[in-house]
Assembly symmetry: C2
Homo-oligomer: 370 residues x 2
C-alpha cells in the first residue's frame, strides 16, 4: 500500500523484523546481535522515532562489513557490587549491550532494589528509549543515557563539544503503556538541519549557531546545534548533556564525546568505544507498589486533564508514541522513497527476499479499511 | 561594609551561621533541624544561589511558628532492600530530611554500590544542589530531585501544572571542587517574574505565558512559566519535570505538585507533604576510581578549553558557584536592603544578637583590601 504522506510504501512489522534480522545475519552477525538490533530498530519505528528506526539498517550493515562493529562479540558482565556492574561490550552492537545491561539491571533490582550498569567498548545503540522501555515492561523504572559525537555547543562557546546526548526515562503504568520520555539534550537533532537545508526552509529560532557561536536560522550557516534552552538558557541543556557524559563515558572509562570517532565518519574499521549507562529501580523497593501505582495514575490523570492552549493537545510523555505504535501495527510501518530504495538495494546485494508492501485490507478484511 | 552592588551590607559566614541557627532554636527547632537548615541556607548563599539562601529564613520561621513544619521531628528511615530505603520526614524541615537521606544513601553506596532514598512527609528543602554536593564531598555521585507547587505549564497547555521541579547532580573531582549542576526545569524561577515586574522590565523571550498559554514578555500578563525549551521545545522541559515528579512524589506516595498546598500560601499550619528523591552512587562500584577520575579530569579540561563566543566565557557546571564561594568567603555574604531589614527585625523580635556588618579589611589586615 502506497502511503501518500510519505511518497513511499508501508510494510508489516513481522516482515520488517524478518528482513532486518536476515540482513544482519547474512552479513555475519550472530543471532543474539541480530535479534537485539532488530528489536531496537523495529521498536523505534513502531513508536514513530523514525530517525532511530529502520533507516539506520544500511549504516549498521556498513559498519559490520567494515569491522567497526564486532559481529560475534563476547560481552562480559562483572557485577562489582550487589547493585552495580560493568559490561564490556567487546565492540559489538550497542543494542545487544543495551538489552543485556537492562537484563542485569532488572535482576539486581529484584534482589537489592536497584541495578545500575556502566557499559564500555560499545557502539551506537539506536534510540535510548528502547532500553528504558524494556525495564518498564518488566515493572521497573528505567533511566538510560548515552554520549555521542560532538554536534552541540557548550553555553557561551562557538565550537561543538557535546553530542546530542539523550536521556530516556520510563516508568511502568499498570494496565497501560509505560510513561516514556526519550529526549536529546539539544532542541533538534543534527539531521533536522540537513532536512531543512534540503527544502530551503528556515530553522526554528534559538536551536542552531554559526561558526562564531551566533544563533542563526539558515541551515547553510549552521556549524553546531545549541543546547536545549538556546542562547540564553542553554547552560541547562549543556549541563544535562554533561551529566549524560559523566554517567556514560566517564563512569565506563571511555573517551568523552568530544574525542569520539564520528558515527558518520569514513573510518568504518576502528571501534568507537561508545559508553552507555543504565539504571533500573524497583518501585516496590521504595514504597508498596500499590501506592506507587495509585499515585502515578492520579498524576497522569491530573496531567491529561489540564486544559490545552488553542489548537494544541496536552499529552504525557509516550502518549504520542503509543498512538503511533497502534496506527503502525494496523496500517504498516512507512518507508519513504529513500528507505524504499535502500531496502530494495539491500535485498539485491544480500540475496534475501525483498520487503512486501503491506495492505491492511488484505490482512484484516474489510473491517480494517478506513 | 556596605556593598554598593546590593545597596545593603555584607556579613561573615560564621556570623550568618550563628544567626540562622540561633533564630531557629529560639523558635523551638531542635539542634539537628536548626543545623541542617543553617548548613543548607549558608551553602546556597556562599554559592550565590541567593533565591535559596538566607532570604528564606523569615519564611522558615513563619512556618515553624504556624506549625506547618515540625520543630522536633522523629524522622524514621526504613531500609527496604540493600540499595533502597524510605525516609518518613515526620513533617520536619526538608533540609534535615535531605542531609539524612544523603547519609543513608552514602552508607548504602559504600556497601552495595548505590543507595537511593525516597522521602515523604517532608517540606521545602531549599536548594537541591546542597544535597548532591554533600554526596560529592564524600566521594560519591549524587542526584537529587524534588517537586514543588504548580507554576509551570505543560507543553501545549494553558494552566500551570508542574512546579519548577529542580534536578541537581554532583560528581567528585579529585583535588577540585565538585562538578555541580542545579537547575530548575523551567527557564526562569517564578520570582524572576516578580523582580522584572517591579522594575518594569520585559522578560526574555519564550520563558512565560499569559492565561491563554500564549508566550508573553510582559511580567504583568504572566500567569505561568513555560517549561525549559519554551513554546516549541517545552515538551522536553515538561518531560523532565515529570521525571522529577515521578521520582519525588510518586515514589514517596505523596501528592503530586499540582495538588500540593502552595509554599507561599496563607495556611501556615497544615503540613504540605513534599516528596524528595536522593540517589547516591559510588564511582568505584562501576570502574576503578583512578580511571573515573582520569576520564573526568580529561572531560573537564576538554570542556574548559573550548573557545568562547565573543564576550562570553565557557564554564563547567559549578565553576561560577565555586568562584562566588571564594569571593564571598573573602568579602562576606551580601544582604540586600530587604534582607537587611528582615534580619534586623528578626533580631529584635527573637531577642538575639543582630548580624555584624562584615569588613574584610578589619578581619584580614591590609593584604585583604582590594
Amino acid at each position: 500500500m502506497t502511503n501518500p504522506r510519505h511518497g513511499g510504501c508501508c510494510v508489516a512489522v513481522s516482515d520488517l523484523e524478518r528482513f532486518i534480522h536476515q540482513a544482519l545475519t547474512t552479513r555475519g552477525a550472530d543471532d543474539v546481535s541480530a535479534s537485539a538490533v532488530t528489536q531496537a530498530l523495529v521498536t523505534a519505528s513502531r513508536m514513530g522515532t523514525d530517525s532511530h528506526g529502520l533507516r539506520l539498517l544500511p549504516h549498521y550493515l556498513k559498519v559490520l562489513a567494515g569491522g567497526r562493529v564486532n559481529a560475534r562479540p563476547d560481552m562480559r558482565f562483572s557485577r562489582r557490587l550487589p547493585a552495580t556492574g560493568y559490561l564490556d561490550a567487546d565492540d559489538g552492537f550497542g543494542h545487544l549491550a543495551g538489552y543485556t545491561a537492562i537484563e542485569h539491571g532488572v535482576a539486581m533490582a529484584w534482589e537489592v532494589g536497584i541495578g545500575a550498569v556502566a557499559v564500555g567498548n560499545s557502539s551506537h545503540f539506536g534510540a535510548a528509549g528502547c532500553y528504558a522501555l524494556a525495564a518498564a515492561e518488566q515493572g521497573m523504572i528505567g533511566l538510560v543515557v548515552c554520549n555521542s559525537d560532538p554536534f552541540v555547543l557548550l553555553h557561551g562557546s562557538r565550537s561543538p563539544f557535546h553530542g546530542t546526548n539523550p536521556i530516556a526515562f520510563a516508568a511502568p503504568v499498570d494496565g497501560h503503556a509505560p510513561y516514556l520520555l526519550d529526549m536529546a539534550t539539544s532542541s533538534i537533532p543534527w539531521n533536522r538541519v540537513q532536512q531543512y537545508g534540503a527544502i530551503g526552509r528556515d530553522l526554528p529560532s534559538d536551536v542552531a549557531a554559526d561558526e562564531l557561536g551566533r544563533m542563526t536560522l539558515r541551515p547553510q550557516e549552521v556549524s553546531a546545534l545549541l543546547p536545549l534552552g538556546g542562547a540564553e538558557f542553554g547552560f541547562k541543556g549543556a549541563g544535562l548533556a554533561g551529566v549524560v557524559e559523566i554517567l556514560s563515558s566517564t563512569l565506563s572509562g571511555m573517551l568523552n564525546g568530544f574525542r569520539l570517532l564520528p558515527m558518520g565518519g569514513n573510518d568504518l574499521a576502528t571501534p568507537r568505544g561508545v559508553g552507555h549507562f543504565f539504571l533500573v529501580m524497583n518501585p516496590d523497593a521504595f514504597i508498596d507498589s500499590s501506592v506507587f501505582q495509585r499515585c502515578l495514575h492520579e498524576y497522569l490523570e491530573d496531567l491529561r486533564a489540564r486544559p490545552a492552549a488553542d489548537g494544541r493537545e496536552v499529552l504525557a510523555p509516550g502518549d504520542r508514541e503509543w498512538r503511533c505504535w497502534q496506527h503502525r501495527d494496523r496500517d504498516g510501518i512507512p518507508l519513504d522513497e529513500a528507505n524504499q530504495a535502500d531496502f530494495r538495494h539491500l535485498a539485491e546485494v544480500l540475496g534475501i527476499d525483498a520487503l512486501d508492501e503491506y495492505s491492511p485490507a488484505a490482512e484484516h478484511g474489510p473491517d480494517a479499511v478506513r
